[in-house]
């Protein structure tokens, strides 16, 4: 199983490249059991959204 540290890197990379199926499934399984990484993923998505929202 992926560690939270590995998950944080993959979540960031998912914003820059297409993940492999194995990576994607690894993330899904991890999110299923880890609140912290789910929050982290939401925060990364928020940061992207914030940047796109500027100019405001």
């Amino acid at each position: 199983m992926l560690t939270c540290k590995e998950v944080s890197k993959l979540v960031s990379q998912s914003l820059d490249r297409r993940l492999s199926l194995v990576e994607w499934v690894g993330l899904r399984i991890h999110f299923f059991v880890c609140d912290g990484c789910r929050r982290f993923r939401e925060q990364m998505a928020f940061i992207r959204r914030a940047c796109q929202h500027y100019p405001h």
């Binding site: 939270c4 990379q13 820059d16 490249r17 982290f40 990364m44 959204r49 940047c51």
Partner: protein, 198 residues
């Protein structure tokens, strides 16, 4: 602002109204007031010359920002050419352990990510953007440039790798660090800090 400007009817006199906004945008990206002022000046001149091409489909602000973005991308490319590979390598090397403290040795979070309550409402908050801008300034120069190219100027990682002359892996590392640093700074100074407005 005036969103009803008709095609080819961009009044030259109104261009100046957008200068403060454009300057703030350029400063966020370039982090150098002289460069930012020059980029805005060139943008306004280019807009003045080509205002007959303004289609009116987007707002003048969006149109002007589009011109400015191209100027900034050109500047970034120029800067990247001038930056030595050594400075980029050093930045990559020196930041290697920056976020280790967030994790335990076994890879679990040592500082558990806290929930950010209703984050989207902050996008309308001027104070949030002030903190956001301060946070981007904490990133090392090349890291910030990669982040701005990716998230603000909409370039692909492939283009960024090429411009900064770094491998795809190093590009992902830089973007990871940029996001981690921004997230941590927002957590400390906004979402979990004293500035949050309920």
């Amino acid at each position: 602002m005036n969103n009803q400007t008709k095609p080819g009817h961009f009044p030259a006199g109104t261009l100046e109204e957008y200068r403060p906004y454009l300057l703030r945008y350029a400063l966020l990206q370039l982090r150098d007031s002289t460069l930012a002022e020059d980029a805005v000046q060139e943008t306004l001149l280019a807009a003045l010359e080509s205002r007959s091409k303004f289609s009116g489909k987007s707002s003048p602000k969006t149109w002007l920002t589009g011109i400015l973005k191209h100027k900034i991308i050109d500047l970034f490319r120029k800067q990247a050419k001038e930056a030595t590979q050594i400075s980029i390598e050093m930045e990559l090397g020196s930041g290697a352990g920056d976020f280790d403290a967030l994790f335990q040795p076994d890879g679990h979070w040592s500082t558990w990510p806290q929930a950010w309550a209703d984050p989207l409402k902050n996008l309308e908050n001027q104070k949030f953007w002030e903190i956001f801008e301060v946070c981007t300034k904490l990133m090392p120069a090349n890291t910030a440039r990669a982040f701005m190219m990716r998230e603000f100027l909409g370039l692909s990682t492939k283009e960024i790798c090429k411009d900064l002359q770094i491998s795809a892996t190093n590009c992902w590392v830089m973007l990871y660090r940029a996001r981690m640093s921004l997230r941590l700074c927002l957590q400390h100074n906004w979402f979990g800090g004293n500035f949050e407005e309920k």
